[in-house]
């Protein structure tokens, strides 16, 4: 939540600022701010876990101009034509790296993981994979205690203070997008000052499940998720299906038209999970990636050397 100690915006936000694009981005964010009040009003009417989310940007100008009680329907579009797995800058995938740093994700969690999939004709493609935010979420269906739940905005969140650690949700997830705190994770001391909230999941709690949450606390503050801020190629879009807009931080697109025109697909669509993450097929061709160049840099976690104690493990 925004009035708790706020997770820091990542370093990558500054790194990627394009002067001309940030203008457009600002326009978009104003749009967002206008909608935040309506989202907040609706969210207050339907409290999640009995506590209404408190909007950070709720007092922004335009709050009076609420047009309806329509809810946000957050979505992500991932343009695989622009993803080169950060090969060109010879660094670990910056989306994953920013997510780890922004969320204090314990080692070895990659809430957005860049998989390298084989193409049928040879070569590979990189597939950044956050939680798919299913609208028919298998994980929510099987949770015995309602610790993982769908919000009215269509996000799947986890209340780690309720989770009993049975891990049936990890069995149910067909995308391998859930992570368990097998031990007490090694995390830097600053995490301990954060007030726990399901929307940012810090500090991580031993014996509970974590995952990508689509950064609703940043959206409410009018900012983009860490991964999207950090992508050097602007391959990731974040937006609202209700308002039919999305941005990668540089361009704003009309989401429905963008998805149609790019022949978008969703992962394992046949399973009927109805993900809110859309993929535009490609293998980095718009950023001149050679599909036959394989491999990416492994992700790094800064925590173990900053932490006083705690454990790391492998996946």
């Amino acid at each position: 939540m925004a009035n708790a100690v706020e997770p820091p915006e990542t370093v990558s936000a500054a790194r990627k600022a394009h002067p001309e694009s940030s203008l457009r981005r600002r326009t978009f964010l104003k749009w967002l701010a206008a909608g935040v009040a309506s989202a907040a009003a609706a969210a207050a009417a339907q409290p999640v876990l009995g506590q209404a989310p408190q909007p950070a940007g709720g007092s922004a100008p335009g709050a009076g101009a609420v047009r309806s009680k329509r809810l946000r329907r957050w979505a992500m579009a991932i343009d695989l034509r622009r993803c080169d797995g950060c090969q060109s800058i010879d660094k670990p995938p910056q989306c994953t790296q920013a997510c780890i740093e922004g969320h204090y994700a314990p080692q070895p969690m990659q809430w957005i993981e860049v998989y390298e999939g084989a193409l049928p004709g040879g070569g590979t493609q990189f597939i950044p994979t956050p939680c798919q935010q299913c609208q028919n979420p298998p994980c929510v269906n099987v949770c015995p205690v309602g610790a993982t739940f769908s919000t009215p905005e269509g996000l799947v969140l986890i209340d780690q203070e309720r989770c009993i650690g049975c891990r049936i949700c990890m069995e149910a997830c067909p995308y391998d997008r859930r992570f368990f705190n097998w031990g007490q994770p090694a995390l830097p001391p600053d995490v301990m000052f954060m007030k726990y909230d399901p929307e940012h999941q810090s500090p991580a709690i031993k014996g509970t499940v974590m995952k990508c949450n689509f950064c609703p606390q940043l959206a409410r503050a009018g900012r983009l998720p860490y991964c999207i801020q950090a992508c050097p190629n602007n391959a990731l879009y974040y937006g609202d299906l209700e308002e039919d807009l999305a941005t990668n931080g540089r361009d704003v697109v009309k989401l429905s038209r963008f998805l149609t025109e790019t022949s978008t697909y969703r992962l394992k669509e046949h399973l009927g999970t109805e993900p809110r993450v859309f993929y535009i097929p490609g293998h980095g061709e718009l950023v001149d990636r050679d599909p036959h160049r394989k491999g990416r840099k492994p992700t790094a976690w800064p925590w173990p050397k900053r932490a006083q104690r705690g454990a790391s493990w492998t996946r």
């Binding site: 994979t129 015995p144 009993i164 891990r167 067909p174 705190n181 031990g183 509970t208």
Partner: protein, 473 residues
């Protein structure tokens, strides 16, 4: 036919078969002997089991302190030995139901002397098996969330409800036929028995005097439980399979799982009762009452289930293997030629083919042969549960290298502790309760007839007709 009401009409009849008093004396003395005196070896055995349980508790304390990181499980194979053992123990709990309820319902006479042991296994296996999901929890101290926030939509809640019902039902079903035996103990143990024992048997007998009204009440209660417990047992293993089958994972997403698990449960249950029968027969010198008849009859049942299990495996592997979808290909390779091939082929050949052949050939269809087959089956069924969990989780969901799982010393220790707990509870039960249902054997069976070649002898005649209500022992 035999309705409860018609049984009541026989209330004044006498046993139609002759019960030689000497035979009965000997049976009672033999079965009640362990309740009367306890040898040194008993204490050594209990101490050994307690040591194993203590070691398991130490292992669990490590897990509590450091988290599940002390196990071999990780994100991609996030269930392992614990859940496999959970399925295994719940599976062998089906011994009691099958033998006791189904065979009682069809009035199979040969099983009278082993119902008690079968019911022991059910209750104890449930108690031990139900521990495993809690041992597997990341936050065991939040267990009450299952009550305060429980969602009936979750397969885990179905498990809790089904196993809770089954444990309650089977405990009742164990207790009901024990009442007349408790009364017998109360009357026979004599003043030399310790006061607590006399108090225990007096209280547990619930004032049983064998009056016609009491017999009628007991008979009705047992009839109800015997009918009710069968669907409950089937439901239990069905929902246990549904914690796997209700997911979208490749080898687990299967409609055959419910029936497959129930069949596997009964299969391993029969094997476990044969083994327990052999052990108690030897230790308590019950050779006269548990004879080749029981072994061969159960052996036939076990043999039949090797075929049923074979059929289920054929259904599962032929239907998916013919199409060979992407995940299936990986799964078949890891099972049949890959890292799990040894375990898999032991399960198929050692757990179904070989036991089937042992029972098929008259020369090996001896007590020793049948017990050997049962041991093979029991080991193979544990392996099968392990394979379902581990290989089921191992099929990659996304483009990543397959994960690996190897249980750690903590998991093995806790498993050993669970087996020790199982053995300990059985050991204590065998010291407190008659391991043979005395009154039923006396009234319904009498002395062993001429040696049976076939265990499925129909045993016609009025002596086995009905539940023999109102016969005075």
């Amino acid at each position: 036919m035999d309705t409860v009401a018609s049984w009541g009409e026989h209330a004044a009849t006498q046993p139609t078969h002759h019960v030689p008093p000497a035979w009965r004396e000997r049976l009672e003395a033999r079965v009640l002997h362990p309740l009367r005196s306890t040898g040194f070896r008993y204490y050594v055995w209990v101490a050994f089991l307690l040591a194993l349980i203590g070691w398991a508790l130490y292992a669990y304390s490590q897990q509590l302190e450091r988290g599940l990181i002390v196990t071999g499980m990780r994100d991609r194979i996030s269930w392992g030995l614990y859940i496999a053992s959970f399925v295994f123990f719940i599976g062998i709990s089906h011994a009691g139901t099958l033998l006791s309820a189904i065979l009682r319902a069809v009035k199979a006479r040969w099983q009278m002397s082993i119902t008690r042991m079968a019911e022991f296994i059910t209750v104890v296996a449930l108690m031990v098996g139900a521990l495993f999901p809690f041992l597997d929890m990341g936050r065991p101290e939040r267990i009450l969330n299952l009550l305060t926030y429980g969602r009936w939509q979750s397969p885990l809640l179905w498990d809790i409800m089904a196993i809770g019902t089954y444990l309650t039902g089977s405990t009742l079903y164990l207790y009901l036929p024990l009442i007349p035996d408790f009364a017998l103990c109360r009357d026979r143990l004599g003043p030399s028995a310790p006061a607590w024992k006399r108090w225990f048997f007096t209280a547990a007998a619930l004032g049983w005097q064998g009056t016609p009204a009491q017999r009628l009440a007991l008979d009705r209660a047992m009839t109800v439980m015997m009918i009710v417990i069968i669907p409950v047992a089937v439901s239990v293993h069905t929902v246990v399979s549904w914690i796997f089958a209700m997911t979208l994972r490749d080898p687990l997403n299967s409609t055959v799982f419910g029936a497959y698990f129930v069949a596997g449960a009964i299969f391993s249950g029969i094997a476990s009762i044969i083994i327990l029968m052999a052990v108690l027969r030897r230790l308590l010198h019950l050779e006269e009452y548990i004879t080749a008849t029981q072994f061969v009859s159960l052996g036939y049942l076990l043999g039949a289930f090797t075929l049923i299990m074979g059929y289920f495996n054929l259904s599962e592997y032929a239907v998916t293997g013919y199409k060979m979808a992407e995940g299936t290909r990986f799964h078949f390779e890891q099972l049949m030629v890959g890292p799990f091939a040894g375990l898999f082929w032991f399960y198929i050949l050692g757990g179904m083919v070989l036991p089937g052949l042992i029972i098929l050939y008259p020369r090996t269809r001896t007590i020793a042969g049948i017990v050997t087959a049962s041991v093979l089956v029991l080991v193979a069924m544990w392996i099968e549960r392990y394979l379902i969990v581990v290989t089921g989780f191992r099929v990659p969901l996304m483009p990543y290298d397959p994960a690996w799982y190897m249980p750690t010393w903590v998991e093995w220790s806790i498993l050993a502790g669970a087996f020790a707990l199982f053995a300990l509870i059985i050991t204590v039960f065998a010291k407190l309760f008659p391991v043979v249902s005395l009154w039923e054997v006396i009234e319904h069976r009498g002395p062993e007839p001429a040696p049976l070649r076939s265990g499925t002898q129909p045993a016609p005649g009025p002596d086995v007709r009905g539940r023999a209500v109102g016969r005075t022992p």
